[in-house]
């Protein structure tokens, strides 16, 4: 009787699982009691009440307003906002550049495909943090002083102090002007689609509509007495005034992260294109479509299905990679958490908040991408 019990797979499974759970519970209890003991021994305060106290440390730049008199909680929010802003800008730029890299690698043009290959090999085989520190070094030591700033485009200045670019100045009439321009665009679009549906010539109607919209907007611009203007940065004394400003930290990390990520995205896109069966190319060629039409109308839409899952993980790792901004000194969440730990000593809570934020970002991005994936997935009939 015992031998049947001994050889029963179900019983063995149960015993293994109970042992596993028991071991896990014991381990967690052990860690918990150690932590309580250590915290008491070292006199570390616990609890989340520090969050409402004023932070009293500066954050060098943020996209939402911050002041050292704000609470620690607000400092965390600023850190999260900076992380999200950095991720957003990087993902946007890297996707565009990555598409270019992926297409360039597939290109029949020998110079372009070789260049893309060299770019991808270099980017993928050097750690991101080395690249970021390098670009930061370039931004802070090889760029000229503001007086001899590089001026690659009119109104754009690169110098040791960061990048200055023209910014939009909104006058008092800016908001109504924008609303009227958008309304004009909607009306023109509506008319164009109506005419197209009636069978008018595409290549006449679309440019005409566009020109009409531009003309109306220009007239409105006069009518509203120049509601929006460009402000150019100007050199006054030792630094620039006016315009919009990007710090060297932000420039270095966006530039480095974009280049690095675009190499990976380029490879993902190339893989997706190569996964589309050869018959699709041949069929499209047999129909007499041009190469560019085949790529953008036949191949890329199908490649998208292959591309989305790896692209999701690439976007997620880009968000996680923004933590490397710590090394450069851009105040994203990691750096804020580090500062808070130094200020309050409440490491346990701070790190748990940081991990919680990253887990929620990861989870929501993958949920969104799963939804999108289901949306574009092949419907099998």
């Amino acid at each position: 009787m015992f031998s049947t019990l001994w050889y029963s797979a179900r019983l063995r499974g149960w015993i293994t699982q109970i042992a596993l759970l028991g071991g896990l519970a014991t381990f967690l209890l052990w860690v918990g009691s150690n932590t309580v003991q250590n915290l008491a021994q070292r006199g570390i305060r616990t609890g989340l009440d520090f969050l409402s106290r004023p932070a009293r440390f500066p954050i060098s730049e943020s996209i939402i307003t911050y002041d050292p008199s704000n609470s620690f909680l607000w400092a965390y929010v600023v850190g999260v906002a900076n992380t999200l802003w950095l991720s957003f800008v990087t993902i946007l730029l890297a996707t565009l550049l990555g598409l270019a890299v992926g297409l360039a690698r597939r290109s029949l043009h020998p110079l372009l495909s070789k260049q893309a290959m060299i770019f991808v090999t270099i980017m993928r085989n050097i750690p991101l943090i080395v690249q970021l520190l390098f670009w930061y070094g370039v931004c802070t030591s090889l760029f000229p002083a503001p007086r001899d700033a590089l001026n690659p485009l009119p109104g754009v200045f690169l110098s040791l102090r960061g990048v200055y670019a023209p910014s939009f100045l909104a006058g008092p009439n800016a908001l109504p002007f924008m609303l009227v321009v958008v309304a004009a665009l909607l009306i023109v679009l509506w008319q164009v689609t109506r005419l197209l549906r009636r069978g008018s010539q595409k290549r006449i109607i679309i440019p005409t509509g566009f020109l009409m919209w531009v003309g109306i907007s220009a007239g409105l611009y006069k009518l509203f007495q120049a509601p929006v203007s460009l402000e150019f940065p100007e050199l006054t004394g030792l630094n620039f005034r006016g315009g919009s400003y990007l710090s060297p930290e932000f420039v270095a990390i966006v530039f480095g992260l974009t280049l690095y990520t675009s190499a990976f995205i380029g490879e993902i896109i190339r893989g997706g294109i190569e996964a589309v069966s050869k018959g699709q190319w041949e069929g499209a060629r047999a129909l007499g479509l041009s190469e560019r039409h085949i790529m953008f109308r036949i191949i890329l839409p199908q490649a998208l299905r292959v591309i989305i899952p790896p692209m999701t993980s690439q976007y997620l790792s880009t968000v996680k990679n923004t933590t490397l901004a710590v090394a450069v000194g851009y105040p994203e969440l990691g750096l804020v958490v580090n500062t808070v730990i130094n200020q309050t000593g409440q490491a346990l809570e701070s790190i748990m908040i940081m991990l919680g934020v990253y887990l929620s970002i990861s989870l929501s991005v993958s949920l969104f991408m799963n939804w999108y994936n289901a949306h574009v997935a092949l419907v099998e009939r």
Binding site: N34, L111, V130
Partner: protein
């Protein structure tokens, strides 16, 4: 012309038609545009080349020679020992060099499928012990060097190799648990893998550096290097587990079932039948993970390990040299590049070998 008679050749057009180069580069508007674009890209890189080669001060130069604007390779020459070995005592640096050679030899030996098995585990045990003795000393008449003095390339290689080596058995257990039939084990393994993969490595390194001492009994002390290694090991095991799971998924179910029907015990089935086949199928993603882990060792700078990158960063603050902050990083980048590219070249060679054997 009769119906159906066209001037299209009967053979299919090749995907990459051979064209004369003039037509290839300037055949139509688009390809001329691409040609001009790629030439412009090359031209835009010329100032960088000028900086790196023609205006540069080569090793042996003085700090004064570096002030005229070019790259200062003399600085890299002067600091190369610091970057490569960190604060390791100069008179013992031959030991650190031996560790580097040992690690490279061990990696080369274990990448060949012929070595896989018990032999390899023994080799690694012996190799790691030898490595620690060489680095730390205290035995065989070698002077003791505390881990706070370890640094540079040997530490980077040790962290990469140890985190992968120790992470792999954990990864296999996690993958088997996630693929297995026990619901509790599956839940626990899935939770661990997804948790670690959802976190940035910097977060894990913070946990290891700051929180791990709180989690352990007060009288246990693990030094900073050990804690960092723990974080890297957990990180690599979660990523390796997903790779191994891919290999297990790709394996024909009949393999395990047939072995079970023959009455072979579970662990022997796993060790002799499942794993060798599953791993051979996932060599490319495995080497990818290895490259990722080599690159990830550079992050230990954030928790204050004196690796190559921190050495390059601290060398840049030396006031005798005029602001050479990029050259040191380029040197470090070159070392990482050489390591990662050689891993991928060797892996491609290995993959071709496996493919050739499986088709014969």
């Amino acid at each position: 012309m009769a119906i159906g008679e066209t001037n299209v050749p009967l053979t299919a057009l090749p995907l990459k038609p051979k064209q004369p180069w003039m037509k290839l580069f300037f055949g139509d508007v688009f390809s001329s545009f691409l040609t001009i674009l790629s030439i412009l890209i090359v031209i835009s890189l010329l100032p960088g080349l000028n900086w790196a080669l023609f205006n540069a001060t080569w090793p042996g130069g003085t700090p004064e020679a570096c002030r005229d604007g070019g790259a200062c390779w003399a600085f890299v020459g002067a600091k190369s020992r610091l970057i490569l070995f960190g604060l390791y005592p100069p008179e013992h640096q031959w030991r650190a060099t031996l560790v580097i050679v040992l690690i490279i030899a061990m990696v080369l030996a274990s990448l060949s499928p012929r070595m896989w098995g018990n032999k390899l585990i023994m080799l690694w045990g012996a190799g790691i012990a030898l490595m620690l003795i060489l680095m730390g000393g205290g035995l065989l008449g070698l002077d003791t060097v505390p881990t706070s003095k370890w640094g540079g390339l040997p530490v980077v290689l040790m962290l990469a190799v140890l985190s992968l080596g120790m992470g792999f058995p954990i990864a296999v257990l996690l993958a088997l648990g996630r693929r297995g039939s026990l619901p509790v084990a599956r839940a626990v393994c899935t939770f661990i893998i997804e948790l670690v993969r959802g976190l940035p490595l910097v977060g894990l390194l913070f946990v290891a550096a700051i929180l791990l001492p709180l989690f352990l009994p007060p009288d246990w002390t693990i030094d900073k290097l050990g804690r960092t290694l723990a974080a890297l090991t957990i990180f690599s095991s979660a990523y390796l587990a997903e790779v191994v799971r891919g290999g297990l998924q790709g394996l024909d179910k009949g393999q395990g079932e047939a072995a079970q029907a023959l009455g072979i015990p579970y662990w022997k089935v796993i060790w002799h039948i499942i794993l060798p086949q599953a791993i051979q199928n996932v060599i490319p993603p495995l080497t990818n993970t290895a490259i990722v882990m080599v690159k990830n060792t550079s992050l230990v700078l954030i928790v204050g390990i004196f690796d190559m990158l921190s050495a390059a960063r601290s060398a840049a603050t030396d006031p005798t040299w005029p602001a050479p902050s990029t050259e040191g990083y380029l040197f470090v980048a070159l070392i990482y590049f050489a390591i990662c590219v050689s891993i991928s070249i060797y892996a491609r060679h290995l993959e071709n070998g496996v493919r050739a054997r499986s088709h014969s």
